[in-house]
């Protein structure tokens, strides 16, 4: 056997790696049916036991245990807390365990080599750190099944980035069913307004991330664009909510699609221009001779930004509000870049 550094040198001497302590904790909690008391865990499980003070000065170690529990739960491991029937509400009598039936991947969840190759590609989609880490962890877990994926798809690298700062805090709030607050700028309103919402779903639609949430002030569901959330998303301490119904995201996507179909814009595009080629691909109707195309859109402000980028290559014929929005944008850009003007006024 390889000699293991045991905690013989007294408290603080032993340096058990974190993963070793977490691994030992998971094994101990999986092996127990009835659950272990915190005192039992701290005094016997490797990584804690070496630092356990029998005279009872274990505040640091207890905090360590609290953090470890959170880390383990974040990984999807069902770490349970069981109250003592005799001493309800007594924290010292709480027992901890991981029920094996809820830990093991169900038998029917098995994957073919083709499916694993597809999942590998799906994991590669994410450039954003936390989504990428989550995907990679999932793949590691699935590798335990010992199935070799079909050869990775070569010559093919689809990538999705998340550039909205609000994304990660909202995704966390979604998982924890945590009420949050943020300032939201809605076009047409003079300034960003504070919103308090229960986040229900986060959806990528037409290249923009949307939050569907229950707005507590408006007392109704609302959909927000993440790019219009100003500054931080902060959790509202102690306020959580019930899980939304399954498939809520599909319903929201259907609503966004409906909204998109209700809005249509007629555009005049310059023949042979970038606008003609690129916007033309999205056209639902078009008259090539007249150089006019029609396309649907979800959000007028978002489309106006995009159309402004094409400068003289595109002209909005209708609706009037979109036409005006694009003109406003072009005016602002022209004004900010006129000679001799140092800053945008």
């Amino acid at each position: 056997m390889i000699a293991r550094v045991a905690g013989g040198g007294g408290k603080g001497d032993s340096r058990i790696p974190v993963e070793d302590r977490l691994f030992s904790l998971v094994l101990a909690l999986l092996a127990t049916e009835t659950g272990l008391l915190k005192a039992e865990i701290l005094s016997t499980v490797r990584g804690y036991a070496e630092r356990f003070d029998t005279s009872g000065q274990n505040a640091n170690l207890e905090r360590q245990f609290e953090r470890d529990k959170d880390d383990i739960r974040e990984l999807g491991i069902p770490l349970e807390t069981v109250e003592s029937p005799d001493r309800p509400g007594d924290n010292q009598a709480l027992r901890y365990r991981i029920p094996k039936g809820q830990y093991d991947l169900p038998d029917e969840v098995r994957f073919t080599p083709d499916e694993l190759a597809l999942l590998g590609l799906a994991a590669e989609v994410w450039r954003e750190a936390s989504l990428s880490a989550d995907s990679q962890r999932a793949l590691t877990k699935l590798r335990s099944l010992g199935i070799e994926p079909r050869d990775p798809v070569i010559g093919y690298a689809p990538r999705l980035r998340v550039r909205d700062a609000a994304f990660e805090p909202l995704r966390q709030a979604l998982d924890r069913r945590q009420t949050v607050r943020f300032r939201y700028f809605k076009p047409g309103e003079p300034e960003a307004r504070l919103r308090t919402v229960n986040p229900l779903a986060v959806i990528l639609h037409e290249s923009r991330w949307h939050l569907h949430a229950f707005d507590l002030d408006a007392n109704g569901p609302r959909t927000f664009l993440l790019s219009r959330i100003i500054k931080a998303v902060t959790p509202v301490a102690g306020s959580t909510f019930e899980a939304p119904p399954a498939g809520i995201q599909d319903r929201v996507i259907a609503e966004l699609n409906e909204l998109r179909l209700r809005n249509s814009a007629d555009l005049a595009v310059t023949a042979g221009s970038d606008a003609e080629v690129r916007l033309g691909k999205r056209a639902v109707e078009g008259d090539e001779d007249a150089g006019v195309i029609r396309l649907h859109y979800t959000d007028a402000a978002v489309l106006a930004d995009e159309l402004a980028a094409y400068g003289p290559e595109v002209r909005v014929l209708s609706p009037e509000s979109l036409r005006e929005a694009v003109r406003e944008r072009l005016r602002a850009v022209a004004a900010a870049h006129r000679d001799g003007v140092e800053e945008a006024s």
Partner: protein, 339 residues
């Protein structure tokens, strides 16, 4: 297999250990090299993990980690032949479930892929998503990617890439120059909603990125592509070259992530509540589109020619509406319908 550049964090190492044990049990006898290949780890990482597992276990009734409460391996095979055999195991034997977040990340990734021609039928995607949901310890978080209509050119390009055939198409670049191109397609890349083909262009005699939505008149030829294995195909879409143009701009701080591809360096100075940064672009034609597409959020400071190009672009756009030179001090946001 997965490549990894950063060291794993403790939770990732834990996930690996919990996944490695059932793998070893299932395989019964595994070479270190084979295991390393399967998990995308180094052989030394695998050996370290085996040593850790072999000395781990349960505190047991006495709380003293007695041999019977520990994992054990065939040490002779391990030390002499680099072969792993678990001879005694405790507590775990099955793969762990996915977390709600993990399942959601893969499901949303699959939804994004479903927009591409690569994909298997939607029925098999749906069954794969259902399996991920069943394999999660809680309902996957409500994260979704709406299906978009795939550019029909993609399927054609895809067949040229897999078949290793030259591809011809009409292409109009950002400068507005159009022409027929003949290329050796190498790789399809996407960034969010935009698809690109990385290809060796016979016209330009160099590897170029082509936007799929700027292509038309595609034709897959019978001519096989040349061998480009010695050629470096960049991993990213945007590369810096010496001929590039440096432009100083002032941007709203929250807009910086949208310009990440173009930042020349990481330096920035605050000027009147905005950040002054330097962008590097291939030419001013790209700049005018970029700046006009972020109206009010980005202002070009220097050089003067770049400012002029942007001003002309916007003014030309306004001329289409019969507008005169813009009035000064007009900075109001546009009227937009409620959502």
């Amino acid at each position: 297999m997965a490549k990894r550049t950063k060291p794993l964090k403790a939770p990732d190492k834990l996930v690996f250990l919990l996944s490695f044990v059932p793998y070893l049990l299932e395989q019964r006898v595994v070479d270190v090299a084979e295991a390393a290949q399967h998990f995308g780890m180094t052989e030394e990482e695998i050996r370290d993990a085996v040593r850790l597992i072999a000395t781990s276990g349960l505190p047991g009734a006495t709380g003293t980690y007695q041999p019977n409460d520990l994992f054990d391996i065939d040490w002779d095979s391990f030390e002499d032949d680099d072969v792993i055999v678990i001879v005694h195991h405790v507590a775990i034997d099955d793969a762990p479930r996915l977390s709600a977040r993990e399942a959601a990340a893969l499901i949303a990734g699959l939804q994004y892929l479903s927009a591409s021609p690569e994909n298997a039928s939607s029925a098999s995607l749906a069954s794969l998503m259902a399996k991920l949901t069943a394999g999660a310890s809680a309902a996957p978080s409500r994260l979704a990617v709406a299906e978009t209509e795939a550019d029909s050119s993609l399927a054609v390009i895809r067949s040229a890439v897999t078949g290793g055939r030259q591809l011809e198409f009409d292409y109009r670049n950002a400068l507005g120059q159009a022409g027929r191109r003949r290329v050796d397609p190498l790789r399809i890349l996407s960034q969010d909603a935009d698809w690109y083909l990385q290809a060796y262009c016979h016209t330009r005699e160099d590897v170029r990125n082509f936007r799929v939505d700027r292509m038309s008149g595609l034709a897959v030829t019978e001519v096989p592509i040349d061998d480009h294995s010695d050629r470096e195909v960049p991993d990213t879409l945007f590369q810096v070259s010496d001929s590039d143009l440096d432009v100083v701009v002032d941007v709203a701080p929250e807009t910086i992530p949208l310009l990440a591809d173009y930042l020349a360096d990481s330096t920035s100075v605050e000027v009147d509540g905005r950040m002054r940064v330097t962008l590097r672009l291939a030419h001013v034609h790209g700049l005018k589109r970029l700046v006009a597409g972020l109206p009010g959020l980005v202002t070009v400071v220097a050089p003067a020619e770049a400012r002029a190009v942007v001003a002309e672009w916007a003014t030309a756009g306004l001329a289409g509406y019969g507008d005169e030179a813009p009035p000064l001090g007009d900075e109001n946001g546009a009227e937009t319908p409620d959502r």
